[in-house]
């Protein structure tokens, strides 16, 4: 036993020598901190980091960059908000600026937006709803990843169908594919707890004239007739045609990508990431994959833009002047164009000049750009408010749909419940 104890003591001592340096807290006194999203395009991330460090050098500060994943973003931000440890420069999602601006935690960035406008042209009007509050800009839109409709050209050719333009078309073609025995569950629209679920859910409702607010952002409730129509369309593939499998309701953000690329589904809503993945793996389905604008309904084509990243400067910052300067620099022409053109057509800008750049002049590029140009922010037809943010992030819309599909509730009941939930949110959360 004594030899063992001796050995143990040696090991503990060695550990101690290794551990002690790590126990000293990192001194962050002179550095600015930047939090950014970790994307699925490592090369683009590298360009962004290089840009940020160069900009920091130009401004004369040291920059510490930290990354977060999409799933953990709000966990980190929640802890930071409560503990007053927000970073100096924060990359926020579509609802972040609304939430933080309402708390009074964001610096006015109107001058930065003005400077960026000089470099990159005017900002898209539909981008303002998510970042402009009370006439002032509280964030600078960085890029959007729009949702488009992915479909299999070859399968559509096999059943003699045209690329679908309406929600109705998608259901019909899916039925044809299933009847022809090509796939069991070709309709890959997942009403799950991810962007692949709530983004199309909003587009669907809006394209049926079933928005839940008016132009000022005030709550009016989903109108009954239109809401029921939209619900019927959402649940048809699962309950009636059986062209969607219940498993899709449990999908994560990457499962629909993988299922599409495994050749198991014909349709799915997704960001352009599938194009990137197929290209980078020389996927055999590359030639058969095509995209289209998300479908329209009786009230038109009203696309949602839920995946948007914005730069903000929290007031917690010790040096807002330097932070704003770094953001300005990052969004100036040269660094931004370098980032955009290195993003494999995944990062779509919100400013006119890069948006109309020939870089997007490919068949798929045009569709992607068109989606951003047409897309509406969360909370349409009103601005993005913290209440609208909560409606989306608490999954009210997809829950409404799954209540009918999984719990077999009546559409009327589900609609009533959803309206009640939303009313409770709007009553409670201040609409600035």
């Amino acid at each position: 036993m004594t030899t063992f104890m001796k050995r143990l003591a040696i090991v503990v001592a060695l550990i101690g020598v290794a551990v002690v340096p790590a126990l000293v807290p990192a001194s962050a006194a002179s550095k600015l901190s930047l939090w950014r999203l970790k994307t699925y395009i490592p090369p683009a991330d590298k360009i962004l980091d290089a840009n940020a460090q160069e900009c920091a050098k130009k401004v004369g500060v040291e920059l510490a960059i930290q990354t977060y994943t999409f799933d953990d973003m709000w966990t980190k931000y929640t802890a930071a908000i409560e503990s007053k440890t927000l970073p100096d420069i924060a990359e926020l999602d579509a609802v972040g600026p609304a939430r933080l601006a309402n708390l009074g935690r964001l610096t006015d960035l109107s001058d930065v937006v003005a400077a960026v406008t000089k470099e990159l042209g005017p900002i898209l009007p539909n981008a303002e709803g998510a970042v402009k509050f009370g006439g002032k800009f509280y964030a600078v839109p960085h890029y959007a990843i729009p949702l488009v409709l992915f479909y299999r050209k070859d399968i559509l050719a096999k059943v003699g169908a045209e690329p679908p333009d309406t929600w109705e078309d998608i259901q019909k073609v899916s039925e044809q594919v299933k009847k022809a025995g090509i796939q069991d569950f070709p309709n890959g629209f997942p009403w799950n707890r991810t962007g692949d679920g709530y983004d199309p859910a909003m587009s669907l409702l809006w394209s049926y004239g079933a928005a839940w607010v008016d132009k000022s952002g005030k709550f009016v409730g989903i109108p009954k007739a239109q809401g029921l129509e939209a619900l019927k369309m959402a649940t048809r593939a699962y309950l009636v045609d059986k062209t969607s499998a219940f498993d899709y309701l449990s999908w994560s953000g990457s499962t629909n990508n993988e299922s599409f690329m495994a050749g198991k589904i014909t349709f799915t809503p997704n960001g352009p990431s599938i194009l990137y993945q197929e290209e980078s793996t020389q996927h055999p389905l590359q030639k058969d994959t095509a995209i289209k604008l998300m479908p329209k309904g009786p009230a038109g084509r009203n696309l949602a833009l839920t995946f948007v990243m914005n730069w903000a400067v929290p007031v917690d910052s010790k040096s807002t002047k330097e932070a704003k300067a770094v953001v300005s620099c990052l969004m100036s022409r040269e660094p931004f164009m370098k980032y955009m053109t290195g993003s494999f057509r995944q990062a779509v800008p919100f400013f006119a000049t890069p948006l109309n750049d020939p870089y997007w002049n490919t068949p798929t590029g045009k569709i992607i750009v068109e989606t951003v140009k047409q897309g509406h922010p969360v909370g349409w037809p009103g601005p993005t408010t913290p209440a609208a943010a909560e409606v989306v992030s608490s999954n009210v819309l997809t829950d409404m749909i799954t209540r009918v599909i999984v719990d077999k509730a009546s559409p009327e009941t589900a609609l009533d419940e959803a309206n009640k939930r939303m009313k409770e949110i709007y009553d409670r959360v201040p609409v600035k």
Binding site: M1, F4, V12, I15, A18, V19, A22, L23, V24, P25, A26, A28, S33, K38, T39, Y40, P42, A64, I65, Q66, T67, T69, F70, D71, D72, T75, K76, T78, A79, E82, S83, T85, T194, G195, G253, S254, N257, E258, M261, A262, N270, G271, S273, Q277, S280, T281, Q282, H283, P284
Partner: protein
């Protein structure tokens, strides 16, 4: 009679091994496939061609070695700290008589009434007030908050099953209480200590939330936080993830086997003799 029992035992073991084996096999096999093979579900059972690109990526592109080092430091230190505190507490609560020990024993478990998923913010604020965040030491202090109650109670269970007579014999021979603890009780409770230590280590090794929030510095990331970066919203880097999982698991197993041989068998044998 004996043969039946042995047969039953072998069957049970074989069944459990098979159930453990299948997902493990898939994990290891996937780690040797390229992204393309995984996406296309090619060569499902045996990767052809074999590639070690994922492992290379772990060490060249990602900071995997750093994550392992950070997790190893944090887990080992937390384990040792928790074992030390818990052993002393467990011994006192089972062997010594003092007023309030019953209530105290129960109170120790109160910490489990609130899930860590909600405690993380006030705990984070505590560390901010102490001016001690963004360091592995923060985690080493934070992890015992959920490890110590467990270690205490588990060891209480083991200590109880050791007959008092053995200690009393040592006391009669002139040993102090603490000497009796170290020379008599601990060796006999060695299997329990090892189990408790293993529990502490794996819980710390796998802990995600505190490591995500308390540490901002990229060079101090622990393994679970690093691994979570392989799952980006639209994409999962399966190959690298599985390679990381394989590499992260093996050392722990090896250490456990080694410790079991020397610590449990060695200590127990020593105790019986002397």
């Amino acid at each position: 009679m004996l043969r039946q029992a042995t047969l039953a035992r072998c069957l049970v073991l074989a069944l459990i091994m098979a159930i453990v084996f299948v997902p493990m096999y898939w994990i290891v096999v996937t780690s040797f496939k390229t992204g393309r093979q995984i996406l296309l579900s090619q060569s499902v059972y045996v990767p052809r061609p074999f590639t070690i690109d994922n492992y290379v990526y772990l060490f060249e592109e990602s900071r995997f070695a750093l994550w392992i080092r950070n997790s190893a430091i944090t887990a080992t230190a937390s384990t040792l700290l928790s074992l030390a505190i818990g052993t002393l507490g467990a011994y006192a609560l089972t062997r010594l008589r003092f007023p309030g020990r019953r209530t105290f024993g129960g109170l120790v478990l109160i910490t489990y009434l609130v899930p860590p998923g909600l405690m993380f913010i006030p705990l984070y604020q505590t560390f901010i007030r102490l001016g001690y965040t963004d360091s592995l030491g923060t985690l080493i202090l934070a992890y015992p908050t959920f490890l110590v109650p467990f270690v205490t109670w588990l060891l209480m269970g083991f200590f109880r099953s050791i007959p008092r007579e053995l200690e009393e014999a040592a006391l009669v021979d002139g040993a102090t209480r603490v000497q009796a603890l170290v020379r008599v009780v601990l060796p006999l409770a060695a299997p329990g200590l090892l189990a408790a230590g293993l529990f502490c280590f794996t819980l710390s090794w796998n802990e995600f939330l505190y490591a995500l929030i308390f540490i901002a510095d990229d060079s101090l990331k622990t393994l679970p936080v690093g691994l979570s970066e392989f799952v980006v919203s639209d994409f999962a880097f399966w190959g690298q993830l599985m390679a990381a999982a394989t590499l992260a698991s093996l050392p722990v197993i090896v250490v456990y086997i080694y410790l079991h041989k020397y610590m449990v068998q060695g200590l127990t044998a020593g105790a019986v003799k002397g």
